[in-house]
């Protein structure tokens, strides 16, 4: 089981939870199990080509998966996966 930490802006698409425990052998498998559970999250994490969006970083423990094996990065029992989107402040939040 790995723990996925959901950032505040995306919690509304993940049943308002701040973390979810999920199974999976790689980061990609864990995240796909997450988006399987919360379908709306998918378009916030991945673009139409299925690539992780360029304003969302995913870290395995404290390392950016872009510098590990990206989606193929192996996940061990007890690892933490953090989703960290870019935040800018208050502007351009159309209302």
């Amino acid at each position: 089981m790995a723990k996925v930490l959901i950032p505040t802006p995306l919690r509304q698409y993940a049943g308002k939870q701040d973390s979810v425990e999920l199974n999976g052998g790689t980061v990609g498998e864990v995240l796909s199990s997450l988006t399987g559970q919360y379908a709306e999250l998918r378009r916030h994490l991945y673009n139409d080509e299925g690539k992780l969006r360029s304003f969302v970083n995913v870290y395995l423990n404290d390392e950016d998966i872009r510098y590990l094996g990206r989606d193929a990065t192996p996940v061990k029992e007890g690892d933490t996966i953090s989703i960290v989107p870019s935040i800018a402040g208050g502007r351009f939040h159309a209302g």
């Binding site: 304003f55 351009f92 159309a94």
Partner: protein
């Protein structure tokens, strides 16, 4: 005899020695460090939430020259977090209000007022004159602009950002270290950033992040400790937890990588897909809109129609039109059966954006007689019922 062109050496007056005594008695700062602070110049972009603690503490610390960039005016909604401004300052330029507070704390500081929006045209000329840049802005175009200008000019950029209860901080473009594009190559498209329904910020949060930026700025100037370079610091105020992630310089970064493709400043509004200026609301009504005064008239006449409020329940608690039925935009698809497509329906929200989406949704669901109340409850407060508070 050669002409003496060097500036006289920087020294501390008797008053300054007393003022900075708690710095001077620490070996990590001492007289040498305090003089470094006095010789330093820092450009602070934004005199808002992050800029407030930054301005106050950087002035108090004795930075010699601080440039402020801001073109905004103090507003009542700023006072919940922008502690550099007071109630008496509402309506004043943030530059003047901030400079006044900073000079009150420390009249030895020189403050340069840049009453402009930082743009691709002026950024290099402004930033060039400072040793360090602190990013206290609130939008993506300016953040990418500051990043690129700092990379091109080789100026360290002390970065901080906030959203609701979460904050981020790091030092970018420091001695060839990673830049903002290494962290996030591209901004989110405007459609994916949370709307004002999910926006907001805990007033204390920019205080915490601004203080981290101020601490890192002072450490950079003093050359002490371990700077927040190559590390992204995350702060979660709700959990009261700090986390730290590795931040790498991307060899393929388009501006600071091995083969840069960006060699000058670009159009950052286009890059971020947002208009340079908020579009002015068009005078008159657009197709499918109804004016708040007409909605009032319909209520008074006893016309048969349904008014729905598509804001969130916590917004409804702030203020509401009693006649309106609350169906938050996110719940509308699941609750559409509560509405009758034979009825005339008017939707409203805070300012008219979400209710436009609700109208769009209802039309696609087969509703024909739906209208969007122009300007939302804000315009209702202006034109119909001034007792309704604005937020």
């Amino acid at each position: 005899m050669p002409v003496e062109t060097q500036a006289p050496p920087v020294t501390l007056s008797k008053e300054e020695i007393l003022r900075y005594s708690r710095h001077l008695i620490m070996p990590e700062v001492g007289m040498e460090g305090q003089l470094k602070l006095k010789r330093a110049s820092v450009l602070l972009v934004g005199a808002g939430g992050l800029g407030a603690p930054l301005g106050l503490y950087l002035a108090a610390a004795g930075i010699g020259r601080i440039g402020l960039v801001d073109f905004d005016v103090v507003d009542f909604t700023n006072l919940q977090r922008q502690v550099i401004h007071g109630t008496k300052d509402v309506g004043r330029k943030k530059l003047d209000s901030a400079a006044e507070s900073m000079l009150d704390i420390n009249p030895n500081v020189v403050i340069d007022r840049h009453e402009v929006a930082l743009t691709s045209e002026n950024a290099l000329d402004i930033i060039r004159n400072y040793d360090f840049v602190v990013d206290g802005t609130d939008n993506f175009p300016t953040r990418y602009l500051i990043n690129d200008a700092c990379v091109l000019l080789k100026k360290p950029n002390v970065y901080g950002s906030i959203f609701r209860f979460d904050g981020q901080a790091t030092i970018l473009a420091h001695e060839g270290g990673p830049c903002y594009r290494c962290l996030y190559p591209e901004p989110p498209p405007p459609g994916l950033v949370p709307s004002c329904a999910e926006g907001g910020v805990l007033g204390i949060l920019p205080g915490a992040i601004g203080i981290i930026q101020a601490t890192e700025t002072v450490k950079l100037i003093l050359g002490v400790g371990e700077p927040l370079v190559g590390r992204l610091l995350l702060y979660d105020a709700l959990a009261m937890r700090f986390r730290e992630f590795k931040l790498h310089k991307d060899p393929e970064c388009p501006i600071c990588g091995e083969h840069p493709t960006i060699k000058e400043l670009i159009d950052y509004h286009q890059f971020c897909g947002v208009p340079a200026h908020e579009p002015e609301p068009a005078p008159g009504l657009k197709e499918g809109e109804i004016d708040p005064t007409e909605v009032r008239a319909k209520i008074d006449r006893g016309d048969r129609f349904v008014l729905i409020d598509v804001r969130e329940p916590h917004e409804y608690q702030i203020c509401n039109i009693p006649f309106a039925k609350l169906i938050p935009l996110g719940e509308l698809p699941a609750r559409v059966n509560e509405l009758n497509s034979a009825d005339e329906i008017v939707a409203h929200c805070k300012s008219g954006m979400r209710s436009a989406k609700a109208v769009e949704f209802l039309k696609q669901a087969g509703f024909r007689k739906v209208k969007n109340m122009k300007g939302g409850i804000l315009l209702w407060s202006d034109k119909v019922d001034p007792s309704v508070p604005k937020y």
